[in-house]
């Protein structure tokens, strides 16, 4: 439980802003506007992370999501100029809405029905140093695997989007 009034108000302001921005991603009719609202959603979620005293994760969120992923999505929209730029739905819109609504209802029921083991923990002190220690001591193997994964993904993305070359034309 966080009993600080300012933090609680910040949480609700951020939560409502994030929720509205996420709704706008579904509602706006232009794909590029949806990307902008998604970037705003990512920034709002970074604020939520700060409320939950996860400062390093919040900075990583702004750098990677609001920065890199949003720009990547803008590129994907711009690199497909002849494709449909509308943010339209398929025939699955109604079943998807029903399914998402049902899932939300069930999860909210479970959240309020479960007896969580709440700790009276204070906010974490600045987490960057202890996170770095965790990455290089108990989590060093996943950390190294993640670096290999990123390299693989980068090479894969380059290979997938590479222009087809005429074999032997420039040999």
């Amino acid at each position: 439980m966080i009993a600080d009034n300012g933090i609680v108000i910040a949480f609700y302001v951020l939560a409502i802003t994030t929720g509205i921005c996420a709704l706008m991603v579904a509602m706006v009719r232009e794909l590029i506007q949806a990307v902008v609202f998604l970037a705003l959603t990512f920034v709002g979620i970074a604020g939520i992370y700060i409320v939950l005293s996860a400062d390093f994760v919040a900075v990583a969120q702004v750098l990677i999501y609001a920065g890199a992923v949003a720009v990547l999505m803008t590129f994907a929209v711009m690199l497909t100029p002849a494709a449909d730029r509308k943010n339209s739905e398929t025939a699955f819109q109604l079943p998807a809405a029903i399914l998402a609504g049902l899932l939300f209802a069930v999860v909210v029921f479970v959240i309020y029905d479960t007896n969580w083991r709440i700790s009276g923990r204070e906010a974490f002190p600045a987490t960057a140093a202890s996170l770095g220690e965790a990455f290089l001591k108990p989590f060093v193997v996943p950390f190294e695997i993640a670096s290999v994964l990123l390299l693989t993904a980068m090479v894969g993305a380059i290979v997938l989007t590479k222009e087809e070359e005429d074999e032997g034309a420039d040999a």
């Binding site: 998604l38 809405a97 709440i118 989590f139």
Partner: protein
């Protein structure tokens, strides 16, 4: 006179449940986007929103719930962000590669596997 005014001052509190409900709402919205959008980039936006919702949930548990090593939730969130970034790069490269062959990224027009 510096007597406090406990009746007028509202004391607000934030519990685990409210944060989890926010995460569940964002996840449901992301699921709706991923299932209903026609453009492949729209579908990917839904997937990213779902991953973010899971991160909100992880950090909420890390902050509120009893644990011998509470920071592990944040470590996990960083791994989720890493994998999500790799996934976004490959998925968008796939969308661009499909576009080169078919001039469209609408998933209901990509039905080559249908007989």
């Amino acid at each position: 006179m510096r007597a406090p005014m406990p009746d007028l001052l509202l004391t607000l509190a934030l519990h685990l449940e409210e944060v989890l409900v926010l995460g569940a709402g964002l996840f449901a919205l992301g699921l709706y986007l991923a299932l209903s959008k026609r453009n492949a980039v729209g579908v990917l936006m839904g997937v990213e929103l779902m991953l973010n919702a899971v991160n909100v949930t992880l950090l909420a548990f890390s902050r509120f719930v009893v644990s011998p090593r509470p920071l592990d939730g944040q470590v996990f969130a960083v791994f989720v962000i890493t994998v999500a970034a790799a996934e976004a790069a490959v998925a968008l490269a796939l969308a661009v590669a499909v576009y080169k062959h078919r001039e469209t990224v609408n998933i209901d027009e990509l039905d080559m596997l249908r007989w």
